[in-house]
Each structure stands twice: as structure tokens, then as C-alpha cells.
């Protein structure tokens, strides 16, 4: 099969879009891992809660205002809906993250790592059924809500037929990437968090409350997962099991990038996203296996991942 330049470009863009979503999930996971030294198995469930919430908010707003059409009004409705979805997701996931850290995780930092795995796995199971209670166990189709969004023309301006929603995700993803790096490099809170990650005791000695930092970081991670869910859901349907694949793929991403490295997560996510997307046209059965193959390859060459570690976990 001949691959035209346009098709290749579209596939690459798809890959980048998926990569950005992966980055949003993996960044939360890697920040929690780098600072709290906890692998949060419930991260995928937080992701899917974000997705379900976003669908609900979108559906609600569109039910009131009507579907977003083309033109300025349609775009405005859409932007409004997205904003509302993000706000509601934050309103739900920040407190959830806070509670998880303050109530459950804080008690067991000094125990064997395996207990943290059991704990976050228990939370995963509990969230799974909480979702079942709230949203039922049948999948929710979302294309009816979102297909209208794609009628807003964007990429046609440059002579390319590419879904508007994907363009939007890439834009939002870029903003998140820049925002996160800015937060950790330039703001005071970000520096405090990094200091805590590098040397917990020293940070305590100079007056940082590690408890609060940990809570903040977990809440931030939970929000990032939910935000990714809110951005990721449109093209497909939402199911109860939707948390699993992103969770495992973001494991792959953070292993490729190096545990706890934000830069590594970014590079890893784009790498996995693009290569996976190319596989879909070149060799379809390889789609699922490709990320794992990249991971194995990189680990053979560079066992600590592309960018090593960020925090104190050497």
C-alpha cells in the first residue's frame, strides 16, 4: 500500500494528538511517582472518571444550548462546554485526590512498597464500582455529542481535512505541557515541590511542610488524570474498563522516559503516540505491541530510561 504524504501527515498528527493525551495521563503518574514514590494504580480510574464527568457536562450544556454548529456561536458554545467540563472535573478530582492522599496513602509511606500497590489497587477496585453505581455498567456512546464539533472548520484553511477536535486536543495539550514546565521550573510552589522530591529531610528542615506538598502533588496528579480523561473521550465511547489501557500505556511511557522525569514523560508519550499511530497504517497487528517493543528496546540500550530520574529515587 502506497502511503501518500497527506496520509502520513494525518497519521502523524493523530499520533501527536494521542501522545499529548498520554502525556497528560503520564505526567500525573510520574509526578506522583517522582515525589511521593508511590505507583498509583488507581490513576486509570481517575482518568475515566474525568471522561465520564466531561461527557455529562457536555451533554448537559448541549442539551440546554443546542449542539455546537459552525461559525462563531458554535465555537463559543463548544469552548464554553469545554471550560465547564474542566471546571467540574477539577471540582471533583482535586478533593478526591486530596482525600486519597490524606486519608489513605499518608499512613503507609514507611511500609514496604507492596502495601502501596495493594492500597492503590484496592482504590482502583472501589472506584470501579463507584463508577458502576453512578453511570451504570453499559457503555456510553459519545459520537452524537461530539461529531458536531468537527463541523467547525480549522484545518481546511491550510488545505487539509483533519478533525477539528484533534487540533483542539493538540492545542490544549501544548498549553498543558508549557504550563506544567512553567509551574515546576518557574513558580515558587513548583520549586518547593522539586526540593521535596530531591531531599525530603532537607526540605523539612528549611520549613517546607512535606505533608501539604504530598497532598498537593497527589491532588494535582489526580486532576491531570481527570483532565486527560475529559480531553480524550470524544471520538470513542466511554466504558467501565476504559481506565486500563491508558494506565498501562502510561506505565510504558514513564518507563521509557525514566521514572519521575517530566521531560521523559513528554518525549516518551510523543514517541509512543506517533509510532503507535504509524503502526495502524503500516502493520495493524503491531499497534498494541509497538509501545512495549519500544520500551524493551530502550531499556536494553539505556536501562534507566531516556532522562533518568527527577526526584530522589535513584
Amino acid at each position: 500500500m502506497a502511503v501518500t504524504p497527506t496520509a502520513a501527515l494525518v497519521q502523524t498528527l493523530n499520533g501527536i494528538q494521542f501522545g499529548f493525551i498520554l502525556f497528560m495521563i503520564a505526567s500525573g503518574l510520574t509526578v506522583i511517582l517522582g515525589i511521593l514514590d508511590v505507583l498509583n494504580l488507581a490513576h486509570g480510574e481517575l482518568f475515566s472518571i474525568g471522561a465520564y464527568t466531561a461527557i455529562g457536562v457536555f451533554g448537559f450544556i448541549i442539551g440546554i444550548v443546542g449542539p455546537p454548529g459552525g461559525g462563531v456561536v458554535g465555537t463559543a458554545v463548544f469552548v464554553l462546554a469545554v471550560l465547564a467540563a474542566v471546571l467540574v472535573t477539577a471540582a471533583i478530582l482535586l478533593p478526591v485526590g486530596t482525600l486519597f492522599e490524606a486519608v489513605f496513602l499518608r499512613q503507609i509511606y514507611d511500609r514496604d512498597q507492596v502495601y502501596q500497590l495493594v492500597l492503590t489497587f484496592a482504590l482502583l477496585l472501589i472506584l470501579l464500582d463507584v463508577k458502576k453505581v453512578i453511570w451504570g455498567d453499559s457503555s456510553i456512546r459519545t459520537d452524537a455529542v461530539y461529531s458536531a464539533i468537527n463541523t467547525i472548520p480549522t484545518s481546511e484553511l491550510v488545505g487539509l481535512n483533519y478533525p477539528t477536535y484533534n487540533v483542539f486536543v493538540i492545542l490544549v495539550g501544548s498549553v498543558v505541557v508549557v504550563g506544567l514546565f512553567w509551574f515546576f521550573e518557574r513558580t515558587k510552589t513548583g520549586r518547593i515541590i522539586r526540593a521535596t522530591a530531591i531531599d525530603r529531610e532537607m526540605a523539612t528542615a528549611i520549613g517546607v511542610s512535606t505533608d501539604r506538598v504530598f497532598t498537593l502533588v497527589f491532588a494535582l496528579g489526580a486532576f491531570l488524570a481527570g483532565f486527560a480523561g475529559a480531553m480524550a473521550v470524544p471520538p470513542t465511547s466511554a466504558t467501565l474498563e476504559m481506565g486500563t489501557n491508558p494506565l498501562v500505556l502510561s506505565f510504558v511511557v514513564i518507563v521509557i522516559g525514566g521514572l519521575g522525569s517530566l521531560r521523559g514523560a513528554f518525549v516518551g508519550a510523543l514517541l509512543v503516540g506517533v509510532i503507535r499511530s504509524w503502526m495502524i497504517t503500516l502493520y495493524p497487528p503491531g499497534e498494541i505491541a509497538a509501545p512495549f517493543a519500544i520500551m524493551a528496546l530502550i531499556l536494553l540500550v539505556k536501562p534507566e530510561g531516556l532522562f533518568g530520574t527527577w526526584g530522589e529515587t535513584a
Partner: protein, 382 residues
């Protein structure tokens, strides 16, 4: 014949290299007898199904293998379903494509496949420790799941039946039995395999090899300094634990006569196997087996009672983490939390009310703490 020896001042008996005190011997006999009479007990009650216990024992057996890594080398494998699934799928492939009918040959195939798989995954993931190792094993497990799901030769998400030959089932001793008899016979086969497996594991944990693994688990660098081939030893332990998983998977396939990716390779199964070890008590030999039966039983009963059985399992795991970190067997043993508390209660029954007060107080304290944290996050001030 049993030979009397002295173990730390208590009289003990040594037989086939196994040293037990009288108390332990009694538990052992009760345990073995119990394993053998389960089919009869299961016949008496509707809620207690043989197949459920059987499945619990099989997953628990895989957890016994995992426990070798967890207990001594302090490595947390989160992908042990890979070996369980490899064993099960090897059995299915042999039965379907090679027409192998004998249960023994099918199990040998399962063992061979699991050994190879464990050797490969071990080489790739044992360069790392800690979370990296957990993540890597999980990723490899999920890779196998993806392969089983994607290959039409392996049946995709529908899975593969194990029905070789005209008898439509694997043959025990070259004979086909009626389904009821087959179920009970495979159960006894499982019991025998489990007893052998536990015996082998006991011998391993009494050997210098175990001491080497303990040393590696405590401090790798020092272990290397005293001349232990760390990588090779850990790899050997990994392969052994993988073989246990493979045997369990092969038996599972033979018993159920059907394998699906969801039931054998999915990462939640890996989680189950890991949590069985912890639930039963990962510092004990038979704990993982008991944890396996309890967890599977819990899920089965939960499924009957409510559709929210995951929630139930989750809550049990939470209670386990906070209340009984040594697991069921570890807590019941002398010196365990249950034993200590029972003794206190026997001496002074009024201690019960003070326990209640302490529990309520600590819960109140935690709630207050978390509310404070919430306030800080939301408003930035205390």
C-alpha cells in the same frame, strides 16, 4: 521413618528433610486431610462450590511461586499472570493444534512454555529493582495479553477450548471419565501437585539458596561484595516462581477446559495473584494458598450477593493493609496480631471497650486531619 531432632529446644520430627514440631505436624495433617475431603464437604452445601475452591487453590499456587520473589528478594512482580496465562495457553495450543490428549503431557508443555517465558522476561526485567521491576513485569504481562487478544490463532477475546480427541476432554491415565468424575479427579491431581509444590518450596526455603536470596533482598551491593552471583540467583528464583505460575495455569486450563485472555492474562489477574500472597501472609509458606482460596471465594460470594463485588474486594484489601499487614496466616500465628489480642482479651475482658474507644478516636482524628488538608488545598490557609 520420622527421626526425632531438637529444634531450638522444642522436640521436632524430621521426615524427608521436613522438620516439624508436634503442633505444626497437627496443623499439617489437618490441612492435608481438609484438602482431600473438600469435594465431600462441597457436596453438602450449595454455597460452597468445588470449582470455586479449586480455582482459588490454582491461583493461590501461582501466588506461592510469586511469594518466593516477594518474601526473599523483596521484588514485587506485578505481571505474574503472564506465566499463569502462558501455562494455560500452552496447554490450549497443544491440545488444539498438536492433538495432545494426555494431561501429563499437557502439563509438561505448560511447564516448558512457562519456563522459557520466565527466562526471557526475567533477563529483560531483572536489571531493575523496586518500582521499575513492578512496572516492567506488568508491561510484559500486558504485552502477552495484547498478543493473545490480537492473534486469531489464539482465539482472540473468545479464547481457546481444550477439547482434544474424540473424548472431547484431556485424558487422565489414558482414560476418559464422565464430567463429574473428571472434575473430582482433576481436583485430587491439583491437591497432589500442590503438596509436591509446597514440599519443594519448603526445601528451597530451608536451603542456602534462600539465605542467598534473603541477603540479596536486604542489600544487593553487599551481597555482590561477598561473592554472590546476584543477577543469576535472582533470575533462578524468578524462573522457579514462573514455573509455579505455569503449572497452575496448565492445571487451570485442564480443569476449566477453556482459556480466555481475560481470565488468565489480564493485569487484574496479576493483581489478584499478588494480593493473594499478601492476603494470606507473604511471610509464610502456605499463606498465599489460603489467600487464594479466600480471595476467589470472596469474589464468587460477592458476585452472588451484589453486582458490586469489586468494591467488596477493595474494602477487604483496605482492611488488610491497615489492620492486618501480615495477612491471614501471619496474623493467626503465635505472635500475630489476632493471637496477641485474643490472649489480652482472655486475661482482661474489659480491654474490649478501650479498643473500641481507640478505634473511634483514631478514625475521628484521621477525618479531622483530612478535612484540614482539604481546607488547605481549597483555600490555601489552615
Amino acid at each position: 521413618m520420622p527421626e526425632r531432632v531438637d529444634r531450638d529446644g522444642t522436640p521436632a520430627y524430621r521426615f524427608l528433610g521436613v522438620e516439624v514440631t508436634r503442633r505444626e505436624a497437627a496443623f499439617l495433617v489437618i490441612g492435608v486431610v481438609f484438602l482431600f475431603v473438600i469435594p465431600d464437604i462441597a457436596g453438602l452445601s450449595d454455597s460452597l462450590q468445588l470449582s470455586v475452591i479449586h480455582q482459588g487453590l490454582l491461583f493461590g499456587f501461582a501466588a506461592v511461586g510469586l511469594n518466593l520473589l516477594l518474601r526473599h528478594t523483596k521484588l514485587t512482580s506485578f505481571g505474574h499472570a503472564a506465566f499463569f496465562g502462558t501455562g494455560a495457553y500452552a496447554t490450549a495450543v497443544l491440545a488444539r493444534y498438536a492433538g495432545v490428549q494426555s494431561v501429563g503431557l499437557l502439563l509438561l508443555g505448560a511447564i516448558a512454555a512457562a519456563t522459557v517465558m520466565a527466562a526471557i522476561i526475567g533477563v529483560l526485567s531483572l536489571r531493575h529493582t523496586g518500582l521499575y521491576f513492578a512496572l516492567l513485569t506488568l508491561a510484559f504481562g500486558q504485552l502477552l495479553y495484547a498478543i493473545a487478544l490480537g492473534q486469531s490463532a489464539l482465539g482472540g477475546s473468545d479464547g481457546l477450548p481444550i477439547r482434544p480427541g474424540p473424548a472431547n476432554q484431556p485424558l487422565l491415565f489414558g482414560t476418559a471419565f464422565s464430567p463429574d468424575v473428571y472434575q473430582i479427579l482433576t481436583y485430587y491431581l491439583t491437591v497432589v501437585v500442590i503438596l509436591i509444590g509446597l514440599f519443594v518450596m519448603y526445601r528451597i526455603t530451608q536451603s542456602p539458596f534462600r539465605n542467598a536470596l534473603d541477603a540479596i533482598g536486604q542489600e544487593r551491593t553487599r551481597a555482590r561484595f561477598i561473592g554472590l552471583p546476584v543477577r543469576r540467583y535472582v533470575w533462578a528464583a524468578f524462573v522457579i516462581s514462573g514455573i509455579y505460575g505455569g503449572v497452575a495455569g496448565g492445571l487451570y486450563a485442564v480443569v476449566r477446559q477453556y482459556v480466555r485472555p481475560e481470565g488468565t492474562l489480564f493485569f487484574l489477574r496479576s493483581g489478584d495473584i499478588l494480593f493473594m500472597a499478601i492476603l494470606g501472609g507473604f511471610r509464610t509458606l502456605a499463606g498465599p494458598l489460603i489467600g487464594g482460596v479466600v480471595l476467589v471465594f470472596l469474589q464468587d460470594v460477592g458476585q452472588d450477593v451484589t453486582q458490586y463485588y469489586d468494591f467488596l474486594t477493595g474494602v477487604v484489601l483496605l482492611i488488610l493493609v491497615y489492620g492486618f499487614p501480615r495477612g491471614i496466616v501471619g496474623s493467626l500465628r503465635s505472635g500475630g496480631i489476632v493471637n496477641t489480642r485474643l490472649n489480652e482479651l482472655r486475661r482482661e475482658p474489659s480491654v474490649l471497650s478501650s479498643w473500641g474507644r481507640t478505634a473511634v478516636q483514631s478514625i475521628e482524628q484521621k477525618v479531622a486531619e483530612s478535612l484540614t488538608s482539604l481546607r488547605i488545598i481549597l483555600f490555601g490557609v489552615d
